[in-house]
């Protein structure tokens, strides 16, 4: 299977290198894998995830995502890469002045799909996350769990190469969390999408085989 992410001596830092977060990390993630990234608060889990979608450039080493070197990636290529990544946030990051259907098809809108395609896909995706009747509602009218399902539907909209989820169940109750884990498992299983999830706690009920990385003192270690 092809590598989706390959890090070699990867270092990440803030404040122009003064605040080091990740140092000399070396790992590979292949297509279709499900990966959990855990670690204490402030260990650098979210920072690592941000580097995968180019929100933070590596300060040292090499980071290849989808075959592109993130240390030198030009702006236009980064935009193109991002259209192949679905991102899920703990705080959902939905656009509050847009209705649910419009939020869901944002990646399709960016890719320039016609309104008809967007409409059809919105119905399909909302059915998939069991929110068919919510198309015309606005995010602030939904519960946290429902908003996160909209976030998952948005991440799946363009059958992405990979899904990056930053604490996707961090704000949810057990039932809503299990719905989100199911959706992510299905995406990995049925669409062969690589899924990387940053979380405090790996779910106890999880049917897919997965890899587990943990971050400690700036190092990224795989737990077997």
């Amino acid at each position: 299977m092809a590598n989706v992410i390959h890090a070699e001596n990867l270092s990440l830092s803030y404040d122009q290198g003064k605040k080091k977060i990740i140092q000399n990390a070396k790992f590979t993630v292949k297509r279709g894998e499900f990966v959990f990234i855990t670690g204490r608060s402030g260990s650098g889990k979210s920072t690592l995830l941000k580097s995968f979608y180019g929100n933070l450039k590596p300060t040292e080493g090499s980071l290849m995502v989808g075959g592109l070197e993130m240390t030198t990636i030009p702006r236009r290529k980064l935009q193109e890469l991002r259209t192949h990544i679905g991102i899920i946030f703990q705080d959902y990051k939905l656009i509050n002045e847009w209705n649910v259907a419009k939020n869901v098809v944002l990646p399709l809108m960016i890719a320039g799909f016609s309104l008809d395609v967007q409409k059809t896909q919105a119905q399909r995706l909302l059915k998939h996350v069991k929110l068919s009747n919510y198309a015309n509602r606005f995010p602030l009218e939904l519960s946290g769990g429902e908003q996160q399902r909209v976030g998952v539907a948005r991440a799946l909209a363009k059958n992405p190469l990979m899904i990056l989820a930053d604490e996707p169940t961090g704000n949810l109750d057990d039932y809503s969390s299990s719905v989100i884990w199911d959706l992510l498992e299905n995406a990995c299983l049925q669409l062969e999408t690589t899924v990387l999830v940053v979380t405090h706690k790996i779910p106890t009920v999880f049917s897919l085989p997965y890899r587990h990385f943990t971050i400690e003192d700036g190092g990224v270690y795989e737990i077997h």
């Binding site: 803030y14 941000k50 979608y53 929100n55 933070l56 980064l78 935009q79 193109e80 890469l81 991002r82 259209t83 990544i85 991102i87 990051k93 939905l94 656009i95 509050n96 002045e97 847009w98 944002l106 990646p107 809108m109 960016i110």
Partner: protein, 271 residues
Amino acid sequence: MRYIKEHIMFILPMMAILLGIEFYLVFDRMTSSYESALRDGYSMLAITQKEMKTEDFKKLNSEISQSTRIDKSEIVKQISSNQSQKDTEDIIKALPYFYTLKLSTYVDIDSIESIKKSLLKSNDIKRVETFGDSYYSKYRLFSFIKFTLKIFIFFMVLVSLFLVIKQMEVWGYKHRQRIQVMEIFGAPLMLRSGVLFKVALTDAFTATLFIVIFFAYLRFLWAGSSGVNIMIEQKDLLFQFNDVVILLTSAILIVIISVYSVVLGIKESEE
């Protein structure tokens, strides 16, 4: 109500800027016209020993646009009504040549003095009269009015620009979340700016329309019946079709700069 308020907050300063631009255009046309009138009404008197042509004066100073010889017989007729025909002819022969000189541009009093000096360098010119006093007072008054109006327009535009910047901050706050999310999902600059462009361009067109209607009203309806002579005579200068193009271009330019400043100013994450 909130929707109207949001639009008015951009339409009003935009209207003030466009009003400033249109005032400047009208004022510029008015002053050019007035300058031409002053320039045409002003002439110097040159007294020469021999007959000279306009080209000869132009060679001495390029500001001279036209020279007209004053008929000596007319001068002599007024001062020698009791003289014989022969005496009159002798006087005419003895008299130098008189020319009125027109200038090509409206110049200040120092420039008039320098023109006078350059003319007197020629041995053929005996004397030059500039009639500086009346010209000088008109020039000073005119320059003062011109300066104060330009200062007024400048401050009007400046204050309006500050209001536009204030509105840009409101836009930044309101659209931050949407722009950040769109950027994370790979939206190009044009798509991220789309909504803001739509709002700002609508406001810009509305502001332009109001200003165009106002000045068109002044020209076509108000000026003719205003009873103010200068307005009746110069009503064509109040508003011209070119102004619509200038106003619209300025409005669109302000929108482009404002929207891109807002969108590019929004960082993807707060770290």
